[in-house]
Symmetry: D2
Subunit: 345 residues, 4 copies
């Protein structure tokens, strides 16, 4: 790897998570350089100034047209991801796209095909796969110490209090954007197994007033896998104690757990008992995971090897999410095969 020719990365989407990613890529990823930022709003200019990035574009296409960009990080709203992946691939750019890669299977297939056709790296932002606890859990599974997974659990709770306007959150978001992490994590922690059947329970417990408009903020989803394992994914939009991400795999040989809400290894003992600070943001709790996924993306580009999280992985997680969306409304189990059959129909 030569510093003389870093991978030239550009960011598309300068919002909260885009800014986080840009900072990591600009400053902390060896062999990578952040060379451009695109966003229709002035946040692009501010972010570029903060990070000494010379090029600012106000449209994604303008950025994709540039010849001095090797790869893009797509951190725009979820519904725009797939079309941007297709456009980026068409422009010959390697692509890191935040989850979800797509919100329909047809979109997902187009995105995957576009990357395949262009021969570019396509990596999806499933950060659990790079978090040290999850990496170690998977390693324990791979060594056989857990045996055959039988019961799995994955939890994502966003830090509260919930203050967003539910009306601005598309229906299905809790499945397609939040639990999609857990669906992928469950597949990652049950290697080789395929999801078969999904049952979802969801409600608007935080903002019951928004339920009539289709807003769901709390959900429990069970996923049955073809190796018999039964998994539970659970999400809430408002954990008052901070960001809470955990995984658990129970198998014929033992159990692994991953995830810890505590912020540091400092513990305070005082008149009210023992206290530990929690991480308030995903970008704090999972910082090393974010960093590792960008390092891996850069390495995949430089080495020509496949991305460690592929479009196919994203499609599998999406198939669970779509089954969950349907199950939440039908109130019964949904076969993943039925969901998959429709796209090919």
């Amino acid at each position: 790897m030569s510093k003389n020719s870093p991978v030239r990365l550009a960011l598309v989407g300068a919002g909260r998570i885009g800014s986080n990613h840009a900072e990591l890529v600009a400053r902390h990823v060896p062999g990578a350089a952040l060379v451009a930022v695109a966003d229709p709003t002035p946040s692009a200019d501010r972010l570029a100034a903060d990070l000494d990035v010379a090029v600012v574009e106000h449209s994604a296409q303008a950025l994709l047209d540039r010849t001095d960009v090797d790869a893009v990080l797509i951190t725009t709203p979820a519904r725009t991801h797939a079309e941007l992946v297709v456009a980026a691939a068409a422009a010959g750019k390697h692509v890191f796209v935040e989850k979800p890669m797509a919100v329909t299977l047809a979109e997902a297939d187009r995105a995957i095909a576009a990357a395949d056709d262009a021969g570019v790296v396509l990596q999806v932002g499933f950060n659990r796969r790079f978090a040290p606890g999850w990496v170690a859990a998977r390693a324990a599974i791979d060594t056989g110490r857990v045996g055959t997974p039988q019961l799995l659990r994955s939890v994502t709770r966003d830090p509260g209090p919930f203050s967003a306007d539910p009306a601005r959150i598309p229906p299905g978001t809790i499945f397609l954007e939040t639990l999609i992490h857990d669906f992928d994590a469950l597949c990652f922690l049950n290697p080789g197994a395929r999801p078969v059947r999904v049952t979802a329970l969801a409600d608007a417990l935080i903002r019951p007033d928004a339920k009539a408009a289709g807003h769901l903020d709390t959900a429990v989803v069970t996923v049955e896998f073809d190796n018999g394992a039964i998994a539970t994914a659970e999400a809430s939009f408002s954990a008052l104690y901070g960001y809470d991400v955990r995984g658990e795999v129970f198998g014929s040989g033992g159990m692994v757990t991953a995830g810890d809400a505590r912020a540091t290894d400092m513990t305070y003992y005082g008149p009210d008992g023992i206290g530990v600070d929690t991480a308030r943001r995903d970008t704090d709790l999972l910082r090393s995971a974010y960093l590792a996924e960008f390092v891996a993306f850069t390495e995949a580009i430089r080495s020509g090897t496949p991305a460690p999280v592929t479009g196919t992985d994203a499609r599998t997680a999406l198939s669970i999410a779509l089954a969950a969306v349907r199950s939440a409304s039908t109130r019964g189990p949904v076969e993943v095969a039925d969901v998959l059959a429709e796209v090919t129909a």
Copy 2:
């Protein structure tokens, strides 16, 4: 309380758990005396000898006919519980019955009515309610620190490896005898709320060969409550690391967790990392809980106050278990109201 007139307790059923309970009652419960043991097998004689109990009977009825017994602990096989409760109440004995109190709602109703009619204390062996972590969790909920419960979890995993003969385990056992603990714990941790709908997934992952005969050894059950809370109960018959009982309540104000598989506060650091011993048996992990429930039972008898866990609590947990049994076969959600309606039909 006078030591001169202890509550005279008798044990019905001198198996593993009966022997545990007898030892606790005989030696560690102030104000109680174990005065008789009944079991058709020689284990009654052995246990009585071990504990200096003078009276041995080889039938339950012979024991119930005695006038020198105030109360009975019923620790026979589950299917016999309800009829023994009825008989004991008819004999004017106070009753502590191990879970499940009954395996049908009709039985449950007869047991409750018998105790009511006789004016005896009827307490059911839901030990979580007496475990210090669960007591503290409930106290935190009662103070309002957790807010309204939204997501709950209760786990019971029996220590492995599983070595019983599945053919000798009645169908439905994982719901009626194991998860019944979790169903009650979920109600205990969601005070005032009623279970509405149950969805169960269950399989024979430990002994797949026994599945055809109806044996289920692994299960995940979701329970929806009338306050919107969504709960998950999870069980396995074979945790290689020991007995694993945990609870979690996430609410609008925070979260409480209870349960810890570790055996003591000793930690070992060695060449393989950090190691902690686990409790291998329920009678170790929950010893203080067992003891506390017998202290409470004795107190209820002496003070004339209601038992802290009633036949009605047992009936509620049973209604969830029966809904789970049905859901596991129909593969869809089951309304608790439908299950309850049948008994009155």
Copy 3:
């Protein structure tokens, strides 16, 4: 063991710790009965009434004169322990004496000799030896997993805020009554090794105004053992977070730690982070240890086997404490052999 002939125990000293012990012995120790309570104050009557104990004496000797008492628990002020051990042994009573057994070596020797001469069991109240974490730590050491102990630590911090009148606390108390626990624990966790040299640092940091009168409330004592191990014992009279007792043994093969200030396995997650309740009193944190030592004492009496913690153990711990008292004033290391030599001089 027959319930028909329990060991008849009597309590001498109905203060805080005596009342705790009396309750445990009266209600929770199989094969033991609390038959009498002696104390010059009305607390004897109150305690006896609470526990249904028929006999109250207002002097120790009156109690020792009784023929219906097999053994005594001595929980009077520390300075009176040794003479009461001697008197009890002379009366043919088995003796459980709270730590310290004695505050001078001459006293210790008289107490040991009296028990030996009378052939009675003499057990000293070093409760750490019965706490599950310490028992497990010692077991790990005995299996060789820790290797040769090299660095040890024992901590005792009493719950604060400190509210006693320092003028009523005899000089040397932090060494003779508090750290004596740690000195014994260090010997227990370094089996077979002998203390060689002691260096003590102590101050009045909680009540500096009381220092001139000789009151010390904070101390750090290092103890060098003849196997090379270097140990640290640390005490404070005022831990605002509760009672804090911990042990650590680092050796050539690994490390064990024991002790945990948390009260239960309940954890609360809220807006201020993660919180755990602590045990506020020794009688809560070490309840099972207290109980176990009385069970062991009763068993030693019934079985005729030696006590698990002997007068000789107490003498060893005392020799360290006396060396620490001297070191705290001389500000330099004190040889244990020099302390021991004086008693025989």
Copy 4:
């Protein structure tokens, strides 16, 4: 901060820790560039090649003579540190020097004076000050939640088994190179207080055969501060379970602890109980601390503000270490003032 003009850093000393630091600085510190490596051995060439560093020098002076270097990281053997600080300052370079900055007070004074005279930043590698747990502990102390520190503890145990040749380790190393971290950490965690008196116990417990030659591998040092606090620092050269670094501050208001040997938040539950992996190397356990100190150094240079850990801090820690060296041989307490007085004599 402009990426166009990064701080140009050069490494002096391409050994194990130097290579670690070089990698962090080269790849992960915003606003810094590693532009040169100096070492008399071929390791300089290898490291430079690995990190795409163009300039290799085989003497420190050659590197200091370069005009294209702004600052140096000194990671040579400890005995050479001070003279290199002086030389670097004389050459106008900012200096980050690994601990210890010096091994005599005279050297320390020359190093501090040289940096002052040259107006360059001088930062010393006390990494605990940048570890998240220690930062949080200090923050808790600064808010007053711990009250006045009364009892402190700092532990450093190097991962074992110890395999170095003791003959190649200079006498005093455990104090001057290992415990120097703890001495500084104790000062950091007792802000505003000054060390007064030091008592050291040290031995060759790991390699008793090397003791005659002056090699010490295990030590316990007490440090008394002018605010009354009594601190213990403890070190071993061979912890079989990995790298173990912990801190504890007990005060009038509560306690804080920092440090955790576990490697990730993954926990494994298996037939042998609960297991957690430990970090085997300082460069793993404290990676974020190392990184943070280089970020801080770079920031101090760019902003012209003082280094967060100064030569004066290093001198204070050194004064404790020198007192410990003396105490270990005299077997009694040593006044820090006496040590300090000699340098000015």
